[in-house]
Symmetry: C2
Subunit: 383 residues, 2 copies
């Protein structure tokens, strides 16, 4: 049920003809209220797609009535025409659902630098508005897929209210958000400041710690809409926890479905002097192409882990670094520890643990292995 | 003739049995003087191999009598035993060539985290010392290869003196030096301060701007030894230019021979507000896996260039960025420019030009495409 798991929301997904394949490519999510509070987090890339610029602006007042999303084209690096097309999408969706244009967020994903077939998109919005349903969440999740092999949804129900969501993302997954579009909805009666703080806290330790290929998108967007339809004002801590749980679930699904990946790698950094140090080291390890190749080949190459740690400015002593791969401490005190032969890397999930032995802070960063399939997908697919 | 192109140097390369293949794996370079001035630049990785720690220390006084180099093992992350092995190598080489141990630099390359077969190494040093020759430069260059498909040498002759050198490096090529060992020699009568300034200036715009796979090694070393045997004191500017020319030649050879690569990519950033901005943008573009895949697939995907630029803090306006691929300005003002169809990417060499339109500074960074062969080499070869 995804974005329609919470009360007060309608959604749908249709094929508007944006994708040449004829697959579903346009989704609409509508908040029927009574509240229209909303929050959003966007890519930190300075090259931002037209829909990101638009949605960031319309969220200034903490209110959204609807979100229109399309796959099949990112509408990024498309100049004034692209900006106009985003405005047209918002206006058409607003008219169709009885809202103002500046109450409608727009999300686009697909090829950068190409204009959308705007006539098809606007006709698709009309068709989507006519097909809205309180059970349309799955169709919406399917319609935002690009190279995703599966659609991604998650739901958490707490004290009388629910948080649900959908996500797309399969490549260009990196911090400052993965290449992804995420829409979360809740029927909790949460105001915009709570939505904003809960969303930022959740994103910071979930989507922002996914680093599949080090590449940051121009279109990343995470939205959270509250209808208040449950009539329950949530307790802030419980609400924040629920939003985090849904984000974490979706983030893990993004990693599991990353383009061409055969391994899901969790880089857990412990013993750090600060959380910032832990994240810095985690990202450096997660981005190391040589390590990602080694793990693909099921080689517990801890030397490449140390090389990656050494490029950071985190607090550590090179002669006191410990590294475990799948629980085997193959590196102790910056040199060989337990036998590499004890490490079993045959499974899909791999954990690399780095102990900086410099403090009590920790962080986890998720990534994938680097495979010939990744190269193939990204040299053959223009995105 | 490489390191023996300049007068006053002896060299050789032998098979010491470090590599299981039986290929040459130990080299010796000896400066017969009359001068023994020297300079060095080392990896900026904080995890540094024992030979790097040693060589950095012995170069404190700006003098070297010899360099002993081995492939087949990096002697990195090997603890106190590894440090002792490096010292043994210096002592043995010093004894064999009639120098003090602290006049001998040590360079190692190969697998991280594994101890060297030190008995074979020291026996190899004795054999190498017996085989030293004024024509041994080529053999030395061959003996330091790891996954290099060819050995790399370069020579520049100027006003009565010569600079020559050898390099190895094929993967883990990234700024703060590529994974590489480089030994340069000259018969110019240059003192240590001139050697140091010329070497730093040359490395800064050559080896430090090679970014093949974003991975920084624990062992990178560039040494410059002067014998003074030409009897000519070089003019500083001419000497700096000659060292730069040899470094640039070797750096380009490293990129040309990078593991698994099928394209040599020059990222030229112009119109930058500062050289630092130009380098930052160049590195970000050069490290973008998605772009490297696209260029491998001969897809002039300028959207991925813009995505990479957008992750930097360089001065630019996203709506005024221009990008050319092989001379075709496919992106103008942050949006589509000339037709992608005009871009011919069938050749091995590709130039990506980024015009930030924010100033008069520029920089070039060299990288490679990302290929299935890179993944294969680095998942199957433990290094």
């Amino acid at each position: 049920m995804t974005v329609t798991a919470a009360q007060g929301f309608l959604a749908c997904g249709v094929a508007a003809g944006i994708k040449e394949s004829g697959a579903p490519d346009l989704a609409l999510v509508v908040n029927r209220g009574p509240s229209r509070a909303a929050a959003g987090v966007f890519t930190s890339n300075r090259v931002q797609a037209a829909p990101v610029r638009w949605s960031r602006r319309v969220l200034d007042d903490g209110r959204l009535a609807a979100v229109v999303l399309n796959s099949g084209g990112a509408n990024a690096c498309t100049g004034p025409t692209g900006a106009g097309d985003t405005r047209l999408m918002a206006e058409r969706a607003a008219a169709a659902v009885g809202a103002a244009p500046d109450e409608v967020a727009v999300c686009s994903t697909g090829l950068i630098g190409v204009l959308l077939p705007i006539d098809r998109v606007t006709a698709g919005i009309d068709a989507a508005a006519a097909a809205l349903s309180p059970r349309g969440g799955e169709d919406a999740a399917v319609a935002i897929k690009t190279t995703d092999s599966v659609h991604k949804t998650a739901v958490a129900t707490r004290s009388g209210w629910t948080v649900g969501g959908m996500a797309k993302g399969a490549g260009m997954l990196a911090p400052g958000l993965a290449t992804m579009l995420v829409v979360l909805t809740t029927d909790a009666d949460a105001d915009a400041p709570l939505l904003d703080s809960a969303l930022r806290e959740a994103v910071r330790t979930t989507f922002d710690r996914v680093d599949s290929d080090g590449c940051m998108s121009t279109n990343d967007t995470v939205l959270l809409l509250a209808s208040g339809a449950s009539g329950t004002v949530p307790e802030a801590a419980e609400f924040t926890e629920a939003v985090h749980a849904v984000c974490l679930d979706l983030a893990r699904q993004l990693v599991a479905d990353a383009e061409g990946a055969s391994k899901e790698i969790e880089v857990a950094v412990v013993g750090a002097a600060s959380e910032r140090d832990a994240v810095t080291v985690g990202r450096s390890v997660a981005r190391n192409n040589l390590l990602k190749c080694a793990l693909h080949g099921e080689d517990p190459n801890w030397g490449r882990v140390l090389s990656a740690i050494g490029t950071t400015d985190a607090l550590f002593d090179p002669d006191r670094l410990d590294v475990a791969i799948n629980g085997v401490w193959v590196c102790r005190n910056g040199a060989a520890g337990e036998s590499r032969d004890k490490v079993d890397l045959s499974g899909r999930e791999i954990t690399v643990t780095v102990d900086l032995r410099s403090g009590g802070e920790s962080a986890v960063v998720w990534t994938n292995d680097l495979t010939a399939e990744y190269v193939h997908e990204n040299s053959a697919y223009s995105s």
